[in-house]
């Protein structure tokens, strides 16, 4: 039997899908007895909504936890951990989870690993798979046997949990001694300005990555997009340098796109980028590095210098007309 505490994630009063994935991930532990922890007094309806998916749901019934502030979240969860004594605290490697995991482990004095893509419990300790060096190397780690741990799991690693036969019990717990005001005060959400094009609606996307080297080379990729009747998009470094607006960025911190064809030009295939294009129908990658992780998610690949390959495609498209 393994007691697993699963941290639920919600935003703007809506449950985030990763929560169900983590409930599912908890089942990787032998004889898992999961308790799903739902922070915030206002989250009571969400706790109810989770009941069909878990044996037990624990609402952290405190208004201070309605908005996220890491010190108070960690303090409240510490009380829960002291009360429940779980062997595993499980959270998603989402933005929220990334923000919290290290802190939680530090205040709990528990060993931890983030961004797991595989979980293998065993007598010698919990074995974890991770991707390191930008996804070019697979890494196996082991957590100390017999010690309770904190673990975050990469979103989309596990499918969402299905409803169980009978709904679980919902209990409430009110953390004590929380301050009057949070240390990190939420002021407002800032929405991304809508771009001049909506890349989420595009059927053909041609995306430029750091491999283009210089801003002026963006013209080449734009030409390809035009020649293929597609929309120009990009990876994060292109936006960070101010070469294209954020509305053109594909990835976890950009847009999730689902075109029929996605052409990645000079993009290495970091998981934060790939997460945004997972819904693409056909993926064609152009990269001079045969080991680039993008080739692991591509259907077709061209291994070569984009400065030779891209003009050749443009040329072919033009000579055949459209």
């Amino acid at each position: 039997m393994t007691r697993v505490l699963v941290l639920a994630e919600h935003r703007r009063r809506e449950l985030r899908e990763v929560t169900l994935e983590m409930i599912r991930a908890a089942e990787a532990f032998p004889g898992a007895e999961s308790t799903v922890v739902v922070p915030g007094a206002a989250a009571a309806p969400l706790a109810e909504a989770l009941a069909p998916f878990a044996a037990r749901v624990l609402l952290l019934d405190h208004p201070l936890l309605d908005a996220y502030s890491p010190p108070e979240y960690a303090a409240a969860l510490r009380q829960v951990v002291e009360r429940e004594d779980p062997e595993v605290v499980l959270l998603p490697h989402s933005y929220r989870g990334m923000d919290l995991a290290g802190r939680l482990a530090a205040v709990l004095h528990r060993p931890f690993v983030t961004d797991a893509v595989g979980i293998r419990p065993g007598d010698g300790g919990l074995e974890i798979d991770r991707q390191v060096y930008g996804g070019r190397v697979h890494c196996r780690l082991v957590l100390p046997p017999g010690e309770p741990v904190v673990l975050s799991v990469r979103p989309t690693t596990f499918p969402a949990a299905e409803p169980r036969g009978s709904p679980g019990a919902v209990e409430a717990f009110r953390p004590e001694g929380l301050p009057e005001a949070p240390a990190v005060r939420f002021l407002e959400y800032v929405e991304e300005a809508a771009g001049e094009v909506d890349i989420t609606q595009a059927e053909v996307i041609v995306a430029a990555g750091r491999g283009i080297g210089e801003e002026e080379n963006l013209a080449l990729v734009r030409e390809l997009a035009d020649a293929l009747g597609g929309v120009l998009a990009c990876s994060r470094p292109i936006v960070d340098r101010g070469w294209l607006p954020r509305s053109r960025q594909v990835g976890t911190s950009g847009r999730a796109v689902r075109p029929k064809v996605y052409v990645a030009v000079g993009i290495s295939g970091a998981f934060q980028h790939v997460a945004g294009m997972a819904g693409a129908g056909r993926v064609i990658a152009i990269n001079r590095d045969p080991n680039a992780p993008i080739f692991k998610v591509a259907d077709y690949g061209v291994v070569g210098d984009l400065f030779r390959v891209v003009p050749a495609i443009v040329e072919a498209a033009r000579s055949r007309g459209s």
Binding site: A101, Q131, H138, L143, R185, V190, E191, S253, V302, A317
Partner: protein
């Protein structure tokens, strides 16, 4: 304002051959170029700009081996005033260790702001900033893409998923993990490099800080990544490849 910036000396792996070493537990670093992490460079840039705006002092710190001092030198050349290396051997596998060592150094030294990158591009834990906040019992925030510091307090914008962001406020001291895009790192000037050469790197042993190097997470082994999709690599002359790509696109979207 006193600012500490944590930097990690990491191999540049995009577009490089990453080979697993004979021991199966590390990578061959002989042919790899190392540099300060991408996120850390944004953090140094942010710190130096804050100093230029508000006055104060920037310290760059790494927990690493002697080679890692190259990243400290770069930080100095970018405008940091002091550099500290906590002497550890190869980068630890345990994500808890850097934060523990850095906290042992930072405690009681009166930093107003402690900056880290969001993530180190080698092991990619993305955990050191938050863990540091926990150890020092300071507010922390990650994925910072905008920052305005006033007397003893700050407002920041942190990125969330899918293009959404949130504006937050907190008092200083605080720990912030900087996201790329916050400040485009400057190129180091020859003058900067010369100035940096005159500043000594202070080397501290973990024991000097009343702590020790111990790891609870153990690396079992490294291996090539599992196979992905069955990718078909297009071969031929540029003209043939070009024509094939056009076909592949028009097949699905005529």
């Amino acid at each position: 304002m006193k600012i500490l910036v944590c930097v990690k000396h990491v191999p540049e792996v995009t577009d490089a051959e990453v080979e697993i070493a004979r021991d199966g537990r590390s990578i061959d670093t002989d042919d790899l170029a190392f540099d300060m992490g991408e996120w850390d460079a944004c953090a140094v840039e942010t710190a130096v700009r804050l100093k230029e705006e508000h006055g104060g002092e920037v310290t760059v710190l790494t927990a690493g081996d002697e080679e890692a001092e190259a990243s400290l030198r770069k930080g100095l050349a970018m405008g940091a005033d002091a550099a500290v290396r906590i002497a550890v051997e190869a980068p630890p596998a345990d994500p808890a260790l850097p934060a523990r060592l850095i906290a042992a150094f930072a405690r009681g030294r009166g930093f107003d702001l402690l900056l880290t990158g969001v993530m180190a591009s080698d092991l990619g834990y993305g955990a050191t900033g938050p863990a540091l906040g926990g150890h020092l019992d300071l507010p922390h925030a990650t994925m910072i893409v905008d920052l305005a510091v006033r007397e003893g307090a700050a407002e920041a914008v942190r990125e969330l998923e899918e293009g959404l962001k949130e504006r937050i406020a907190f008092s200083l001291p605080a720990v912030l993990a900087v996201q790329t895009g916050l400040a485009e790192p400057r190129y180091v000037s020859v003058m900067g490099i010369r100035k940096a050469r005159r500043i000594p790197v202070e080397v501290l042993e973990p024991e000097d800080l009343g702590t020790e190097v111990s790891e609870r997470v153990r690396l079992v082994g490294l291996s090539p990544p599992p196979p992905g999709k069955d990718v078909e690599i297009l071969e031929g002359t540029p003209g043939e490849i070009g024509a094939r790509v056009v076909d592949l696109v028009r097949e699905v979207r005529p």
